[in-house]
Each structure stands twice: as C-alpha cells, then as structure tokens.
Amino acid sequence: MAVELAVIFFSMILVDNYVLVQFLGICPFLGVSKRLDSAVGMSLAVTFVMVMATAATWPIQTFLLTPANPDGSLKWDMGYLQTIVFILIIAILVQLLESILKKYIPALYKALGVYLPLITTNCTILGVTVLNIDNGYDFLESIICAAGAGIGYLVAMVLFSGVRRRVEQAVTPKCFKDLPITLVAAAMVSLSFMGFGGIVESIFGV
C-alpha cells in the first residue's frame, strides 16, 4: 500500500510532471517563474488548491455524480456534469484562498497579483481532479496524487526560475529576446525530464 502511494507520489513529481511532461499550466509557469520567491508562493498556492480541489471533487464525483450500487452498477450517471461541477468547485476554492491570502499573507497576495485568480482557470488543477477520476484512484490515492502533482509543479517552477535567471543574463540574439528564448529553455528543461521515464518503477521495484 505504502509502496503504491510512493510510486504515485514520485511519478507525479518526476515522470508525469504536469508542467514539464504533460504540458498543463504553462501560463503561470512562464508568467511567475521570473522570481524565485513568487514562484515558490505560486506553487504552494497551486498545491494547496490542488489538494483541496481533489478532496472536494472526489466525493462529489463518487457519491453524487456517479454513485455505484453494491453490485458495481451505477445508480445514476451524471458524469457529464463533471467538468462544470469541478470548475465551479475550483472557482469557489480559489476565491476562498484569495480572501485568506488577502487577510493573512498580503505580501504573497501582492506578489501573485493577477495569477491568483488565474488559478481558477489553470488547467493543471482541473487536469489533476479529472485524471484522478479517470485513473480510478481511491480517495487516499487521489490526495497523494494531487499533492505529488503540486510538489512537481513546485519543482518545475523552482528549477525554471533558476534557468530563467541565467537566460536573462545571457546575450541573446535580438529575435530570440524574452519569450522565444524562454520557451526554448522551457523545452530543454522539459526534454531533460523525459530522462526520468521508468525511474520510479525501477526504484520501488513495481
């Protein structure tokens, strides 16, 4: 059991990293990675929302949208409401997080600026919640998976903010200035993450 959870957790960070391997949530990845402290703040906010959103959406999916009879058949199937209900819940959570940050951590609130409301439409959050359901994870596995995805996001952001500092100091051809060279750098970091393929399975011997 513990091994399975560890496999899910670490493969979310390294092998199935949401930003660098599955290419979700690129907007804040490029937008907030300029400075290390705001990158960390953003990642922690995303991780928090991911775990909360999973904790809220998993029971709703399992008990309200697609509740199962003891024999395994569905009582009713409202799975088609998944997207709209999940987005609703994520929006509420982000709004809640925004008022909490505004009250208790105004510095982080200021640093995140427009990216905090953007978490609402951040596809990583919706991606994590939907893929948890699609992969058939149970509640604990879903939470671990969401936490792993959040930490993976943090790893990607921290790594890339370091890369970006080097890129910004480098002499870049005029046509590659700013965003183009950033995208090229992001592609290389993403490529390097491809090298983690299979590492988790080998370590835990699954």
């Binding site: 409401l81 709209i84 209900v85 505004k102 009250k103 208790y104 105004p106």
Partner: protein
C-alpha cells in the same frame, strides 16, 4: 425518468453553487480587509485611458500606488494639471507642476516630397511594411504612413495626412502610446512649447543620399548650428539635433534651414 434526471442535474449544480456562495459570503465577512476609499476616488479622477504614461500598469494601479506607496500625484500625463490638483486634494498634498507633453512626428516627407520604392500590397500596418525590406518609402527613416499610431491613440489625436502622421495638438495628451508603437521611432514626446523648434527629420544618410530620397530631409549642412546663438544645435550622423534645454526659441535656425525642415511642432 429523463425529466427526473434533468431536474436532479439542475438541483445538484444549484445546491453546490448555493453552498459555495454561502461559504464565500461568510469568508468575505470574516476576513474583511478595509480598502482605502481614496483609491476609488483617485481612480475616478484619473483620465481613464490606461495609457501607462505614469509607469504603472493602468489607472487603477497608479491610484493604488499613490495611496499605498506614496507615488507622486502629478504623473498622469493625459489628465494634466487639473487631474494632479484633484488628486492632491484627495491626498492632502501639494500638486507640484505638470509639464504638458505633446507627441511630435519627426518626418516632413509628405507625398510630394518623397516617393515609394515599391508598391506594398500586404496588411495595412506600419509594422508589416517595415518588415518588408525596411519599408516602402525612399527614405528608410521616415514615417511609413500606415497608421499604427492612429490605431494606438486613445484620444483620436493622430492621423495620417498626406502620407505622414499628423498630430492634432488640441487633442494630444502626450501619453506616448503612438511613440511606443511606431516601428521607425519617428514619434517622440516632448515638452510643449510655443516657440522652441524641432528638427522634423530622422534621416541619417549623407546629404546627397538624403536629397535623392526626400526633398524635405535634413542634409546635415550645419547652417542651423552656425546660426544658433546658444550652441543648442549639434549635427551628428548628418542630422541636426536641437537641445531643448539650451534653446531659447529665437527661431533663427527656422529661417536659416535651406530645406525648411526645422519647425515649431504646434505651427507645422
């Protein structure tokens, strides 16, 4: 059965929405952060063009930085002195002076003064023309005349007249939005002055080459520099430049210029 399912779906989403609404209302009451009402007031007073001339991301952002970070009150260029005074009243500080700024198009190459090198048939944008062999004009430095500035202007103050951009000084607020989009950097924003002239040309080629491209171009003949009693004019790269801080507005250079390219912008 189908009707029942539809009803259930509607009820489910409504209930989730209502529960969320209750949570958010409670949270917003419990975690209420008092907002400084002066921010709203100042946002109302500002010009509302979101031009960014103050250096902030927009009018609301500038209002916030005045109240919270003590930013200067006289940075709203479109709003001018009246706006600065109004903000100063709200903040209870001295207004300071606002120098009115105006956009100046440093090109005199109208249709009869210069000609085209090729006929451009792409999208009507200076940026696009500039990308094709550096523009379709004989002069590589002048106004391209496809109106990127007209589209950037929030105040309808700059138009293409006779092939080059012309600023309507009554409407221009000096926000610099046109200067930022001009791919040839022909437009600059200078302090408004009734008498101080400006060289309305950007051509840095040698006099003979300039002459071939445009009959209104600065040929770098140095006559203005010699005529100037204050040594305010320098000629560099075959182009005259008037230092506005040294200029006293005697306009001897305007009379002396053989190609008639030096003008007071407001009278040009």
């Amino acid at each position: 059965m189908d009707m029942q399912m539809i009803l259930m779906a509607v009820i489910l989403v409504t209930v989730i929405g209502l529960i969320g609404a209750v949570i958010l209302v409670v949270a917003s009451i419990v975690m209420y952060v008092p907002v400084d009402e002066r921010v709203e007031q100042i946002t109302g007073v500002l010009a509302g063009a979101n031009c960014g001339a103050c250096g902030c991301a927009g009018c609301a952002d500038y209002a916030k930085s005045i109240v919270e970070d003590g930013n200067a009150v006289n940075k709203c260029v479109p709003g001018g002195a009246a706006c600065a005074a109004a903000i100063a009243q709200i903040m209870g500080v001295e207004a300071g002076s606002v120098t009115p700024m105006k956009a100046v198009v440093a090109c005199s190459g109208t249709c009869e003064k210069t000609s085209k090198r090729y006929e451009f048939q792409g999208i009507s944008s200076c940026q696009a023309v500039k990308g094709l062999y550096g523009g379709d004009g004989m002069c590589q430095y002048g106004c391209l005349g496809y109106g990127d500035c007209t589209r950037a202007c929030a105040f309808d103050a700059i138009h293409i007249v006779d092939g080059i951009a012309k600023v309507d000084y009554a409407k221009c607020t000096g926000c610099g939005a046109c200067a930022a989009v001009c791919p040839n950097a022909v437009i600059s924003v200078v302090p408004e002055h009734k008498r101080k002239p400006v060289v309305l040309c950007q051509n840095k080629d040698k006099g003979a080459d300039t002459r071939k491209a445009c009959t209104a171009g600065c040929i770098g003949c140095m006559k203005c520099a010699k005529a100037c009693p204050k040594q305010a004019i320098t000629v560099e790269n075959n182009l005259a430049y008037i230092d506005q801080s040294l200029c006293v507005g005697c306009q001897l250079c305007v009379k002396e210029c053989p190609v008639g390219v030096i003008h007071v912008p407001a009278n040009a």
